[in-house]
Amino acid sequence: MSETTGKILMLLLTAAWLLPLAGFVVEIYWLRLSHRLHKGAAYCAVGCIGLGFLCSLSALLFWGYQNNWSALTESDHHAHAVAGTAAHASGSDQQSAVKHEEDDDDDEDDGDDDENEGGHTEHAHAHADDADHAHDPHADHAHAAPVRKYATGTYYELARFSGLRVSLDWYIDSLTLVMFVMVTFIATCIHLFAIGYMKDELTEEYEDHEVHLHGGGHFSRPGRFHRFFAYLSLFCFSMLGLVLAGNIFQVFIFWELVGLSSYLLIGFYIERKSASTAANKAFIMNRVGDFGFLIGMMILWTSFGTFQFGDRGEGAHAEAGLFTMVRGHDGKLDVSEDGKQVYLRNAEGERAEKNGVPLTISYVLLVAAGLGVFAGSIGKSAQFPLQTWLPDAMEGPTPVSALVHSATMVAAGVYLAARFYPVFTPEVLLGIAYIGCITLFIAATIAVVVTDIKRVLAYSTISQLGYMMLAIGVSGWGAALFHLVTHAFFKSLMFLCSGSVIAGCHHVQDMNRMGGLRHKMKITAYTMLIGVIAIAGLAIPGTSIGLSGFYSKDAIVASAMAYSELNPGHFLLFITPLVTAGITSFYMFRLWFLTFAGAPRDAEVYEHCHENPRIMTTPLIVLAVLAAGCAWGGEGGPLYRLIVDSETVPAVNRVISVGSSHVTLPSHQGHESDVHHVHATAGILALVSALIGMAMAYLLYVKKAVDPHQIRMQFSSVYDFLVDKWRFDALYEVMFVAPVHVISAWCVDFDRRVLDTILHGAAKVTVIAAKWDRFFDETFVDGVVNLVGNVTYTVGNSLKVVQTGRLRQYVMWIAVGVIALFGALFSAIPK
């Protein structure tokens, strides 16, 4: 995109980014401005984030207008193969499109060759092909730097160490814009909802019923309404900064800020033991992942000498960003013959050289860097094996959960993994896929048995995040982000609904005590139903008309299927999400049936429950509309096209891996692509799976065809295993906590027995030595000194009588002295 466009977008998004920060500053000092009981802080927060949404939306519209919405209309240009070359030669943006096609072309050739040879040719081979094409007039075209589809720049340069820059940058492409619009919009809805949800805090004496004092009463404290909104604003600021960040270091800064905000919000009811523990758990678990992130970042910095995402500058002065350095402009890893080194590229996409020596990074290091960065994502997005913090994070107020689970915290991990896709080698992607696969299955199975309404949603979030990671791993880049956005909408919707239920039922969260609530909470019930259908991925059979989740999950399953077709050894990566789609559908409908359908199970809860005021239901309706329709058109629709407009090159093409994994990533776009082949099949399978899940939920919880209790009795060990969350907490207790305790006990013992003994012994020895020293000092040193003093004194004393003070005597002595001198002289000198 052109520089002016980039500047204008930057200004708009910067405004959207900084507004919540301004809001945070105002709200955190709210008590100096106004009264605790005043709702102004909330209005301030809503105003800031709402303005931010308007800025983001106008940025998106402006961007589309500048491009004549080419991203929407022509995203299927890949389909037209080489024929499109002439047609697209006009627009500047389309240059890259042209390039993509050619790459497709080459790649497909390569793929054919590879298949003939057994499917694992090294990339060097592909390069040989490129060299063959060198005389081709298209070749120059292919290697020329394409017009960038992103805009990047620097706000402020913090430091520069001989070529290594640390700066505050911005990086804007269509993904950034979509994320901004999504985050600000959902955040606005959640802010509005929170005004109603948090109104209990508008008091001088908030009595916390969860905190029992020793005296038998409850803890009470001044309300923290303004502080809650201040934290929310900080959260939004951090997340937007993360999305806008133009280099990995800045991402890390905001990554930590997001972690801090979530810590503050999860521990909002800090007086509750469970809340503070959960906040600590979230924070510490994230640190574990961030450790990997730091390592990855260090590898990147040492090897590449830059944190930048995008290329900077033009022509000869251009500096290559991380992505270009790894992938060039053709999206391929330039691996050396022996497969141990990866050549880095310069801004033109050529091999980068320094003093005539080509710059390289060890392939293993590149894998390590990818795994490291992904470790950060694991922590932030609650993937296996760091998934246990997310359910505990339900201790925060429900709007926080909604924000954490949809637009901000967990989305950050997926966003980072997607942003860093070009840096990931196929081996790393395989690891990501399996991590996602394991996560989605584990979380879904746990969600089946959980009865806390918020925890069901929490596990479903983990499961859905697993889907996204799986999608990234199987090169379904667009599918992953597509699902990220749709999931953000329906998951925030469902969380707000659950919040509405909780608020309506006076903080009852156990689904066993609910039931039949749809009669009392109509809006909540039916908006929730929309969310449930969306996440279950239901559609009208025979057509491809469904809610947003249908399209995005469809895309993921299709990618996974294409992947497993190309790599039959990894069939689990397709089977698991397919089965889990059914499980997802089952537990989501179970949640809805248990909560809203059937007869009331707890009369008291039912009696006192009520629909919430309009300020809480309006966001539900708005979000429900978007949850249903945001993915309209599926992979031909505007949202998906907007996202894949900034799709990185390697995600598009079929890639054959080098090294030990021998995986082949499916090609992705166009009607000839691997994914397209299986799309219809995958969609039908996923839909069937989801329908089965729904049907089972209906049979079990509405028709009561089989009593769930009996199943529970039948599979009690499995049930217990699931209720214990696959015993991960217990496992970690055994693996980490208990050993630490044992080691600490040993350390204490060692301290007490050995170190203390040594110290005490040393102290005693010192005391004894000091006593001897004192004795020596007092006896000998003092004795000598005193002796000298005494002798001097005595001699002086005895000599003082000589000094009579009598003048005449002195004269006499002088005379005597003279005589004595002479006498001595005469007697001494010989005659």
Partner: protein, 230 residues
């Protein structure tokens, strides 16, 4: 012959006066004997051809210092303090020490061959051309230049007999009429007494001021307002 006689007379007077000073107890009498002794010394100076020195001795000592001492007696030793007796033992001890000292000195003097010592001295007065040109013209230069040191000294002494005023005056102005400038190493031996003279004069001035300060009448009652003066 008369010179010898005079020497003996004044030598005995000087020694006797000194012994009398020691022997008497009354301060005023001691002052008298001191005058006798110092006057005799002045006479001895004249005998030694130191006419100016003899005059100075008379003026300063006999006329000045002794009068000063008598004034001191008058201001301090009134009544019983005129004579403070010394214990006999002290007198005996003092006398014994005195005799011993005298014995040492006399034996030292007697054991030295003064003629030979003065002959070894390097300073031989040159022709006193500045002192008395007429006398110098008459001198037999060959005798002077070839004679023994002693002869030279005697010659020079006879040439300057009793006429030291002008020589001392020139000496205090930095000129040495009795020395040849090229004598010795030619650097310092022929210098005059200009600098010592100046130093002594300033010294005298300082001492007189200091004496006047020390001896001034102390004011016993200090007025209130002048306490800070000290």
């Amino acid at each position: 012959m008369i010179e010898q006689l005079l020497f003996w007379v004044f030598a005995i007077l000087a020694c006797g006066g000194a012994v009398a000073v020691v022997a008497t107890h009354n301060v005023v009498r001691m002052a008298f004997w001191l005058v006798v002794s110092l006057g005799s010394v002045a006479a001895l100076f004249f005998l030694l051809h130191a006419d100016f020195l003899g005059a100075a001795q008379l003026l300063i000592y006999v006329g000045g210092t002794v009068v000063l001492l008598v004034f001191g007696v008058m201001l301090t030793a009134s009544g019983p303090y005129n004579a403070i007796p010394t214990s006999p033992a002290e007198g005996i001890v003092g006398g014994a020490v005195g005799f011993l000292l005298l014995f040492v000195l006399v034996s030292s003097i007697g054991s030295v061959d003064w003629t030979e010592v003065s002959g070894r001295l390097p300073a031989v007065p040159a022709a006193p051309y500045l002192v008395d040109m007429t006398l110098a013209a008459k001198a037999d230069e060959s005798f002077v230049n070839t004679g023994s040191p002693r002869a030279k000294a005697e010659f020079a002494a006879t040439q300057q007999q009793g006429r030291t005023v002008r020589q001392l005056g020139l000496g205090f102005l930095g000129l040495r009429p009795d020395r040849h400038l090229a004598e010795g190493d030619g650097k310092g031996s022929a210098s005059g007494y200009f600098l010592p003279f100046e130093i002594v004069s300033v010294h005298l001035l300082v001492v007189l001021i200091g004496a006047a300060y020390l001896a001034r009448a102390k004011r016993r009652v200090v007025p209130e307002g002048s306490m800070n003066v000290g």
